[in-house]
């Protein structure tokens, strides 16, 4: 195995990292925007709650690879799609990937949020009512902050899964991390160099993501820390200063 090969093509891999990371983060953000109204509708037992339920069921029930193929190769087969304004976006593999990934991640996030909403302690909502908060105030000031905090560990998982799912981009001509690895393999007729490099990069990114979520959890879930840990934090010994004073 010749590990100088990937080093000689580091620019290709660096570009791949950029593509993978931006696709992952953007699709989680867009997915959140898709998931929030759906999860709220279910929490409020809206008559339209069957829509987000059906959406989450469909996109969690089919493989991301099939969804991406359908959007990229499938839609492009229809004349009316190619002549519509949407083709400006659908023509580009990058947008197809972002659309597929966002819809997919949105479906999973709908379930994460729905679960977090349902777990909200009754007392918090009753308290809001007792203070005379409107429904909107209750949602924004009580339900959401409390639920997002509870959903944080699952969100950490979701982002890592999304990063790993993003390898699907490489089958629709996008040069992401795996795409760079495959190109390297194909150019030099080797089996391992490209894939090993890709695996190392994905692992490093996962490590960073997990670390970032650990910091976030330390900040926003500090009420769940064991007492000794909390004491250390309060003394400012463990990054307490970096996060300012406790506001939890």
């Amino acid at each position: 195995m010749d590990l100088t090969l990937p080093l000689r093509h580091w620019e290709m891999f660096l570009h791949g990292v950029w593509v993978s990371v931006t696709l992952t983060l953007l699709s989680v953000v867009v997915g959140f925007a898709l998931a929030l109204p759906g999860a709220l509708a279910q929490q409020r037992r809206s008559r339209l709650a069957f829509l987000p339920r059906g959406y989450a069921y469909f996109f969690r029930g089919t493989p991301l690879l099939a969804q991406t193929f359908l959007i990229y190769y499938g839609l492009g087969q229809f004349e009316f799609v190619r002549e519509s304004w949407a083709w400006v976006f659908l023509k580009e593999a990058w947008w197809c990937a972002l659309i597929a990934f966002s819809l997919n991640s949105g479906a999973y996030q709908t379930e994460i949020l729905r679960g977090a909403f349902a777990m909200t302690p009754k007392g918090e909502l009753e308290g809001a009512k007792a203070l005379g908060m409107s429904e909107r105030q209750t949602t924004w000031l009580v339900l959401l902050p409390s639920s997002l905090r509870r959903a944080m560990p699952q969100y950490g998982n979701e982002v890592v899964f999304q990063l790993h799912s993003s390898v699907v981009a490489s089958v629709i001509t996008i040069q992401d991390i795996l795409g760079a690895g495959r190109t390297l393999n194909a150019r030099y007729y080797v089996a391992y160099e490209g894939f090993v490099t890709a695996a190392i990069l994905y692992m490093a990114l996962t490590f960073l993501l997990v670390g970032a979520f650990r910091l976030l959890e330390r900040r926003y879930l500090r009420h769940l820390l064991p007492p000794e840990e909390l004491k250390k934090l309060q003394k400012g010994a463990l990054g307490g200063a970096a996060f300012g004073s406790a506001r939890v």
């Binding site: 190769y73 492009g76 087969q77 190619r82 023509k91 593999a93 089958v171 001509t173 040069q175 795409g179 495959r182 190109t183 393999n185 194909a186 150019r187 007729y189 080797v190 089996a191």
Partner: protein, 256 residues
């Protein structure tokens, strides 16, 4: 029948069986399955095409039993090296780059590379004529290296299979495709899907990129290279080659 003769008959039968097993050498052949008409996968999952018929004819000439192993193109050389198969019969061009990694038999056919696009295109096959255009090509092929070498400023889109590249030409995501002339003619232009598309510009056969024709790939130092070369000569002499060729093409693809 006495016991002795029975035992003798059994021993003879066992010997005959083992002799047969030794004579029929089992070879695994890596084929692609997404490169019509040379190699395509039927609805029932079977791999058929010119490459597969060639492989079977060569194996028969060598007295070997061959099993086809469907392998993705961009992993086909590693699959050979890692012993997932013993030979590659997948329209693989014999190029100096590949010859550093594996050995080849003599060619079994040789056809040039060409460009296709929507009918009536004004593109030409010069660096200026293709500037600003997007060209689709299968990843890890001689055509990718040809484009990178001769048309460095043209935007390339890389596909896992040639069939996916056809889909994107139809949807208009790429302006042109470059690949083997015959593969595109028989596999796309002459089919229903290829209506409205045509060849344009020149055909290319630059030895540095395009090599000296398609050969059978084998592991370095394997005696199979010579045996496949002999098998090709044998089926060409016996007329079997022409018979197979006639099933797919109405002209000679062996080349000069």
């Amino acid at each position: 029948m006495s016991r002795k003769t029975l035992a003798g008959a059994l021993a003879a039968a066992a010997f005959a069986l083992s002799a047969q097993a030794a004579a029929a050498e089992d070879l695994k052949i890596c084929v692609e399955g997404a490169y019509p008409p040379f190699s395509e996968t039927t609805a029932s999952g079977e791999v058929v095409g010119f490459d597969i018929d060639m492989a079977n004819a060569m194996c028969a000439a060598m007295g070997a039993t061959c099993e086809m192993v469907k392998t993705d193109w961009d992993g086909i050389i590693p699959a050979l090296i890692e012993r997932k198969c013993d030979a590659i019969v997948a329209s693989m061009s014999i190029t100096p780059d590949r010859a550093q990694v594996i050995d080849f038999s003599a060619k079994y056919y040789n056809t040039p590379a060409a460009f296709i696009a929507a009918e009536g295109t004004e593109m030409t096959t010069t660096p200026e004529g293709l500037s600003g255009k997007t060209v689709g090509v299968q990843r890890g092929t001689i055509h990718q290296q040809f484009m990178e070498g001769e048309f460095p400023d043209v935007e390339l889109k890389l596909y896992g299979t040639q069939d996916e590249a056809y889909l994107d030409l139809q949807s208009g995501r790429v302006d042109a495709l470059v690949a083997d002339q015959i593969a595109m003619d028989e596999g796309f232009i002459k089919t229903d899907a290829g209506a409205g598309y045509a060849f344009f510009g020149d055909t290319f056969s630059i030895p540095k990129y395009h090599g000296e024709g398609a050969g059978v790939g084998v592991r370095k130092g394997s005696d199979l290279a010579g045996r496949f070369t002999d098998a090709i000569a044998e089926i060409r002499a016996s007329g079997e080659y022409d018979e197979i060729q006639k099933k797919y093409f109405d002209f000679d693809i062996y080349g000069g």
